[in-house]
Subunit: 509 residues, 2 copies
């Protein structure tokens, strides 16, 4: 087979970015190690090592040689393609490489230094503020972060709304114009649904497992088992324990997952394991041949979140799943569960109750927490809201959306770490993840009308394969919206997710 000049050059381009991919993987190992094994004093060297490796990666991804090679395919300035004989996925790849390059080069080192300095201080202030429940302590830092983020939007460039520049980092091609109606329709449907569900469910199910003990060793076994059932293998993943569960892929064949065990709360560790397992399956399903290029990377944070949420919620909170898994659970925890019926357990897993804390909230209310944050971020960015008013804005919105009001800012506007880290524009990805998951789950159940019987019989692999085929294998070839629309053949809306919630909480249950 003779390669064309473009094919040869594309191969060259991939070879050129490979060292950066290897160093980035080493960076992820260092980060994973920091959370899992590193003794406390190791941090001193790790910080320096991190900086060096980041610099080496940055150097390679902005080198003259790289830009020159990339410019043979695409005009960096305008985005005009300069060649027609690449395969469609390779064409998408060079477009994404340009996108990454523009992000990297537009955020110059002077700005990044300022931004990093500000977030280092603000993270520290946020920790203290949350501990002492003092919004005032955090306010000047939040103001600084917002003003720098506004500057970031200017550097990156945007159309219509500065928030679009931030959205574009995490969710390519996603804009305020798209999110506003999407989130509005979601809110309009969830609020009445919530009222109906609350009046319908049996209140005694909330504390069904209170005072039950789930020995940690048995939890570890059950969590390891479910990952294998989901389609990870003993040879491609590693599960350990950290305070906050996460997934980190060093390579598609080397997936590191963590969860957190608490002998008083089995569901927390288990559902977090399924959640991280979903992220892990995505990373494991990305094509190894394209490792280090956009085609070997996740389509977006929202799509990534859809992979964790489809497993955690659409599957892990479903009746067919517990039909299959609950007897195993009873066998693993006979003392805690022998007297509890499957129906009660299922009702407990899906118990709906507005919570002050986003990360503890159920499927029905979760997205209301995100919508609240989205509106605030958007307002701060375009100046229509002021950070000074955050506490009041937060509390009144909590009352409007969820009918509850925080007793203090620690369980209110200071609960999330994101803003202190400068992560503005990230929250919508969580809700997009849920909406994408709803759409994917709808397609899955249409493609496999016997999906519930399969799951009840203990077959979960068809889910992994479905996601491999329709999502994982493409990497970043498609932006999130077209990726999902390719599968459904219909425009992306919140409807499938709303139908999923409605049918689950009002009809089936």
């Amino acid at each position: 087979m003779v390669l064309t000049a473009s094919e040869k050059n594309y191969k060259k381009l991939c070879n050129l970015v490979r060292p950066a991919a290897l160093l980035s993987s080493a960076l992820r190992l260092i980060e994973w190690d920091q959370e899992t094994n590193m003794p406390a004093l190791g941090i001193e060297l790790k910080t320096e090592q991190n900086k060096l490796l980041h610099e080496l990666v940055h150097k390679q991804m902005t080198s003259k040689r790289y830009v020159k090679l990339l410019s043979q395919f695409i005009d960096i300035e305008t985005g005009t393609l300069l060649t027609t004989d690449l395969k469609p996925n390779e064409t998408a790849s060079v477009k994404e490489m340009r996108r990454d390059y523009l992000h990297t080069s537009k955020l110059n080192s002077t700005f990044l230094k300022k931004f990093t300095e500000a977030t280092t201080l603000s993270l520290d202030a946020w920790k203290k503020a949350r501990k002492t429940n003092s919004f005032k302590l955090f306010l000047p830092h939040l103001e600084k972060i917002i003003s720098l983020t506004r500057k970031k939007a200017d550097l990156l460039g945007y159309q219509e709304h500065p928030y679009n520049a931030l959205l574009d980092i995490y969710e390519p091609d996603t804009t305020v114009a798209l999110l506003d109606p999407l989130f509005a329709s979601l809110k309009a449907k969830i609020l009445p649904l919530l009222q109906k569900v609350e009046s319908k469910q049996d209140p005694k199910l909330e504390n069904l497992l209170k005072n039950k003990i789930f020995p940690v060793e048995a939890q570890k076994k059950v969590c390891s088992d479910i990952l294998l059932k989901m389609g990870l293998t003993t040879e491609n993943h590693h599960l350990s324990e950290t305070a906050h569960p996460f997934c980190m892929a060093l390579y598609p064949d080397d997936i590191r997952l963590t969860t957190h065990f608490n002998e008083k709360n089995f569901l927390q560790a288990f559902l977090a394991t399924m959640h991280e397992g979903g992220h892990g399956l995505y990373e494991a399903g990305l094509p190894k041949a394209h490792f280090g290029t956009p085609l070997g990377e996740a389509a977006s944070h929202g799509i990534h979140e859809s992979q964790s949420r489809i497993w955690e919620t659409c599957i892990g909170h479903s009746k067919p799943f517990w039909n299959y898994f609950y007897p195993k659970l009873q066998a693993a925890f006979p003392e805690a569960l022998a007297q509890t019926s499957l129906n009660d357990f299922y009702g407990h897993v899906n118990f709906v109750k507005p919570s002050l804390i986003r990360i503890f909230s159920d499927e029905v209310t979760y997205n209301l927490h995100i919508i609240l944050r989205y509106e605030l971020e958007k307002g701060f960015l375009d100046g229509s809201l002021s950070p000074k008013d955050l506490s009041e804005l937060w509390n009144s919105q909590m009352q409007t959306l969820l009918g509850i009001t925080p007793a203090n800012d620690a369980e209110g506007c200071l609960q999330d770490i994101h803003w202190s880290l400068g992560l503005i524009g990230y929250f919508p990805s969580y809700t997009l993840g849920n909406l994408y998951a709803g759409t994917l789950f709808n397609s899955l159940t249409k493609t496999f009308p016997d999906w519930d019987k399969r799951i009840t019989s203990g077959d979960l692999l068809f889910i992994k394969e479905f996601l491999n085929t329709h999502i994982h294998q493409y990497g970043r070839q498609f932006a999130p919206k077209p990726l999902v629309e390719n599968l459904t053949g219909a425009p992306f809306t919140a409807d499938p997710y709303i139908s999923y919630l409605t049918s689950k909480y009002l009809i089936v249950n």
Copy 2:
């Protein structure tokens, strides 16, 4: 304070090597991770990552800029110092940097490629040969390794004996002319000692702990405890489990130790933990300020081994230690040990019996295994022995030295991995380690005449501090022999070690 030009340049030199030190530490993390946590399929990326990082380190340590800066202090060709206003430790440092540079630059990439290819094949052949007990399968690879090692000696250069070139890699300034009489005097003393000990000890102590069970969770606790007693802290080390125990330092404040637990053999895990803990304390005691330069590195493999062996044998096999620790052990393993007396336990720990396998041998016979390998390696290198005759040479020497003959090559000349990896010249470091440990222990007991009372009372920290002061803090400022002689004020001989063995096994016991 105004820095002189030399001081400024030395600082520059240190800053220049720092990135290589950070990358080397990342390499060690990758290696540690490979042995402890990595899922099997992760190896594919790791191999490539390893190669890249090694190349980056090599590039930095042979760069024109580095050589130019180093050449301001020392003539690379001749080793003549070109400046007189460096501190003594800095002078030693630039000498060692030159030594390292010469090693690196003399072994050109063509040779290294050949050597690596040969060892990759020979490691594979050795594994098969040992499994199928077929020396013939390994012989052609051994011949190749020896001929390449002979070539390596030529490239490195040597005086008197080609083996000296190899010794110099692991033990600076150590030669055949030094080892021959040292090892001869050792052999001459050990052989009669062995006979006397064997006739003196109670044979029933050999299997004292047979069929006893030591629950692994309790072993973990005891092993963690002893490391803290030795002077490591929860903030600077991490202990985990691997098939073969090892110690790897990512940084003086980030020491990774492993041991191997077996519920039927407590002593194995425990003494391996003390051994690796000794290595760990050395690494933790190296000056952080000199990290990445010779002053922040261990003096030699032999000195490193002395640090593990002084803890494992001189302390961990001593009566005062078990006076202190045995009651704790009985409390941790009441079922296994309640009926066993301290004296019997101590006799068991120090039971002497010639073994076919080096790594399972006791203090008295261990060095005979090394002397056997040393004589063989030397003979192969100067051509006076032929690898073809290895099996016969091995078996007859085992009979002469230890009075036992292997039933097959798997438990004879194929038992060690070293030669298959091209590690020729390394074995003497093990015995040098024991001899250095004997010398250091002799000094320790002279410096602290109440050493036994201290240990019996549970004080081990004075040992760590003694080794910090006399060994660790110097890094590679002194070659192994002068380092030890600085402390004792007398020429280094095997005598202190022989006295230690004799007094322990014939007088005290």
